[in-house]
Structures are given as structure tokens and as C-alpha cells.
Symmetry: C2
Subunit: 319 residues, 2 copies
């Protein structure tokens, strides 16, 4: 059950690279490097906001369809709560290492000052490991301001190989569920999240995935979906595609719909509670940066690219 994978399965900036990834990978600004995955004309054109992200050039069809539909659905529903443009400059919207073997794309829209949305972040990472294989980490999350206590939305699908995926799908609590039983009741016991978790559990290829981080185990909600999907039989790649299309995708959409309902009906909280939420949220964000991003990004992309990406993320997170 507990896997030895170094993956942390968390927001994109929380995801550890494989420890096999060479430390010799150095940075190079994406525009100045030839890429195996983007055409020359792509590189020469000024990037449209969010366009680069939505290309998902390294994903299987089902994985790409899922990401595009999920991100589109979320942005459509939240559009009137979000600032129109991304806060991500073009050289962070797409970035890669010197060899072009590791690539990433980041897209962030902040919430309007009048809304409870802090930011919506979507990203993908493509990491080639020395063995020749590659992994793809795709992510979508919506973080809320401390003006509401509604949980954050988190989705991450990691393709470790074409027949092995790890999924994290949750609305993560912002309060201690033992100390605040009404919070547990409102957002988890009375929602249909447990039914959705159980639905995915019925798929025989899924297994509970236990993060090696004790901290992360405490971040996940009681109905959080954290599973590995392994299709080892003949035709495993097709079966994985089928699972993503038939099971992961509808369940991810359903969880998002539940979260959106909670978001739209969430009340504004008082000043004292706001301070408590802010404190806890900040701890989560700081820990994320400290634990993972600050060491793993330089390793994958070199210090300069990492600094560029980190500076954008830190700015948005406020840490």
C-alpha cells in the first residue's frame, strides 16, 4: 500500500521529481531552446494566455480530454469571479530545461477583489527520467480567500507510465475536522463525496495510495480520493485510457460540481475566523514551497528557470 515512489501527489509545485532525475539538468529559457514537442512557429509566436497550457502535448487522448474539459468547465463556471488575464508571464507559461527533456506549463488566474476566489491554478509538467521513460503531472486547483471557509479544490493526475497513474482528487479542509464537527458535517458528511470515492474504489485496477509524507496524509480530507491506477494486463494502456475516460473523468467533474455548489453557497466569515483561516492556509502554502518546490524545481529545470517559476508561484501564494 505505502509506495516507495518519491511522488508526493499534491499541487504541481508540491510534486517531487523522481530521485533518478539527473542533477545535471540545467536551465534554459524556453524560447531559446528547440523543443521536441513544440513547433518552431509556436516558439516564435507570442503566447496567448492559457493557450500553451491547454495544448497538453505529452498526454494520452483521454488524459488530455479530461484536463481540457475540467479546466474549461471550472473557468466557465467561475469566469465572472476571476480576473480576465493570467498572472503568468510567457516564460513561465511555458518553460523547459536545457535539453528540452523536462517541460512545464503554468496558468494562474486570480479572483476578483469582490469574490472569495484567491486563485485558480492549472499546470502540467513533463519530466523525462534517465531510464528513457517520462512522467506527466497535470494539475488543477482553486484556492479560496480567508473571507470564506469553503474547502479548496484540488485535482492532480500523475502519469508515471502509460499503464500506471496516481490520482489525487479532493476538497481539502481548512479547519481541524475534530475541533469543528459542523464543518465536517457541512462539507463532507452531508455531501455526496464519499459515494463518489466509493464509486472509483469499485474499479478493480484502483488501489488506495498512501503518501510517504505524514504531513500530506493530514492535509487530505476523509473523503479525499488518493489512488493508484495500475493496468498491468495485456492492453493495459487502452484499459488505463478507458478508466480515465469512463471513471476518473466523470467523478472528477462530479466532485468539482459539489465543490462549486459549496463555493457559491458559502457564507462570508467573521474577522476572528478569517485570521485563523489565513494562518492555517499560509502554513499549508509555506510548507508546500519549503518541502518540495524549492528543492525539486532547480533539480529539474536549473536554478534560473526555477527562480522564475518560483517567483510567480510565491507571489500568488503570498509566501
Amino acid at each position: 500500500m505505502a509506495m516507495s515512489s518519491p511522488l508526493w501527489v499534491a499541487p504541481p509545485f508540491l510534486s517531487r521529481p523522481s530521485s533518478n532525475i539527473s542533477r545535471s539538468i540545467t536551465y534554459k529559457r524556453c524560447r531559446s531552446s528547440a523543443s521536441n514537442f513544440f513547433s518552431q512557429s509556436d516558439m516564435e509566436q507570442p503566447l496567448m494566455k492559457g493557450q500553451k497550457l491547454m495544448e497538453f502535448p505529452h498526454l494520452t487522448a483521454a488524459h488530455k480530454d479530461l484536463m481540457v474539459s475540467l479546466i474549461s468547465a471550472l473557468e466557465t463556471r467561475l469566469d465572472s469571479h476571476l480576473l480576465a488575464s493570467s498572472v503568468v508571464p510567457p516564460d513561465v507559461e511555458f518553460y523547459q530545461n536545457d535539453q528540452g527533456t523536462s517541460q512545464g506549463s503554468l496558468h494562474i488566474r486570480r479572483g476578483l477583489p469582490s469574490s472569495h476566489i484567491d486563485f485558480v491554478l492549472a499546470s502540467w509538467l513533463h519530466l523525462k527520467v534517465p531510464t528513457g521513460s517520462a512522467m506527466n503531472i497535470t494539475n488543477l486547483q482553486a484556492y479560496l480567500k480567508s473571507s470564506t471557509d469553503v474547502p479548496h479544490f484540488q485535482f492532480e493526475l500523475v502519469q508515471c507510465s502509460p499503464t500506471y497513474f496516481i490520482l489525487f482528487l479532493d476538497i481539502t479542509p481548512r479547519k481541524d475536522l475534530v475541533l469543528y464537527p459542523n464543518y465536517l458535517k457541512t462539507f463532507y458528511e452531508e455531501a455526496q463525496l464519499e459515494t463518489l470515492r466509493q464509486r472509483l474504489e469499485q474499479v478493480p485496477e484502483t488501489k488506495p495510495y498512501l503518501s510517504s509524507s505524514l504531513y500530506f496524509r493530514g492535509v487530505v480530507s476523509p473523503t479525499g480520493i488518493l489512488v493508484s491506477i495500475k493496468c498491468e494486463e495485456v492492453g493495459g494502456t487502452d484499459r488505463c485510457e478507458e478508466i480515465i475516460r469512463e471513471h476518473v473523468s466523470p467523478i472528477a467533474h462530479d466532485v468539482m460540481v459539489i465543490w462549486l455548489e459549496k463555493y457559491f453557497s458559502g457564507a462570508t466569515v467573521g474577522v476572528t475566523e478569517r485570521a485563523e483561516l489565513e494562518k492555517r492556509d499560509l502554513l499549508v502554502k509555506t510548507r508546500a514551497i519549503e518541502m518540495d518546490l524549492s528543492s525539486s524545481l532547480p533539480l529539474q529545470f536549473g536554478q534560473e528557470v526555477a527562480n522564475r517559476v518560483l517567483s510567480v508561484i510565491k507571489g500568488v501564494l503570498g509566501v
Copy 2:
């Protein structure tokens, strides 16, 4: 993974009976009822404090040995921190229903006023279900006062059948592990609890057990052991005995030793923190009584016996 068992796997007073248990079971004071399991001379003798508990008349040899050794070890190490006598009157030290088909034993020693121990509670429940089979719930826990923030110790082993057990073994946190990263570090990340959890995970007959209570999922620590042990092959009963003797017992003792070290090195906390711990602890205890004990005990033992047992437990819990 998620099981449909109505068991909550929690302290003894938290354990739900099978929903099959007849509602017609009525109470009868244990002394006035013949028992299949206790000799007449036992009934006529005044009970020694704790003696009845340690008989464990319905357990397999390995299960009984484990309980006796664990309780003895804990009481020996904590003896100078505990009041000499049990707070449990004889008619709660052993109780049963009208037919003598459901029986229970409870033993509680409070901590000395000068110690951080609130109470140590040990118990067993033997519940005959209408199908003719029986289940045995055995429990040991040590609750601490709010003068310390050291986690509580919890052990519960449920024998659903001779070839199917559920184990809960944990030191349960008393603070939000996200909000208090140092607490997580001190009691979980720096302890060897995860290694012990992984050791038991290696036993092929064990599987993670997911409580149906979302609340309970939030009570368990990130290194908490919550597993089912199922030995379905020929010789399953012997194999279960072997697993309890060779794996569960040493791991339970090891977790207890870690907890005892934490307990003996635990500092006294300040007034503000004490109030917070008290509030959270009280919520846990109240929820336990509300959710489970108040409805399940009358069902199993009848209202009068249930009231008697409940009154003792509520008194000790302070709810």
C-alpha cells in the same frame, strides 16, 4: 477497501454492535444471571478489582495472551502514576444481558492528581449475534489530562470471527497536525511509528480498513494502524493466531513503548494551550458517547445495564 461492517473500530464504548443484534435483548444484573462463561463460584465471590477483566473468557489463546501482556505491561509501567483501585463497581466490572449471550467487562484506573494520566481503560465485549456466531471486542486505552499535549494511546482488537479480525492501534493526536507542524514532527515524523505500521502492512493477510465514519477517519493519526486481518485459506484460524502472536502483539507492544517514552518525556503545557486541549478532548469524548454508546449499549444489554455502564464511563470521561 471500505467495508460495510457497522463496526466503528474505536474505543469499546464507541463500538457499534452488529445491526443484527436483536432489539429484544433486555438487561439483567450479571450476578443474578447464570452465565455460560463464568462458574458459579466466580459469581458468588466478591470480584477482585481488574480480575474479571483479565479472564478474557471468550478469546483465543493468542488474543488473550496479547491482551493480558499489553494491559499488564501498561499498568506496570504506569503504576506509580495511577490510583491503586479501579473506579468501576463490581456490577460494571462484569455485566451481561438477560440471556447471558452478550457480556462485557470494564476496568478503569484514574491517574494520580499529580500525574498527567487522566485514566487507563481496559475492556472486553462478547456479543453473540443471532446467526449463532459471536464477536469479541477488546480494548486498552490511556487518556491524558490537558496538562500535557502528548497523544492518547489507543488499542482495539475486534474478533469478528475466528478468521477475521480488525485492529486499531494508534497514538491519537490532540491537535490539528496541519496547524501545529512541530506537534506532527515530535510525535509522528520523529517517532518510529511509520516503520511499525509498514511492518504490519507486510503481512499479506492484512488490508487497510477504512472506517465508515468520516469523523473517525479524522481522529486517526497519519501513522495510525487500522487494518483488517483475514485468513480465509485452510487453517485460517491457526494462521490468525500466528499473526496475532508473531506480528500484532510485538507491534502493539512497540507502539506502547514509543507512547510511554513520549508520555514520560512530555512537558507540562501552559494555561492557554491547556484550555484548547481540554476543548478538543471534550469534543472527542462527547462525540463518542453521543454517536455510539448511548444507542448501542441499550440495544445490546437493555436500558438498565446500559445506564449503569454509561454512568460510570460518563463520570470518568467528564461528559
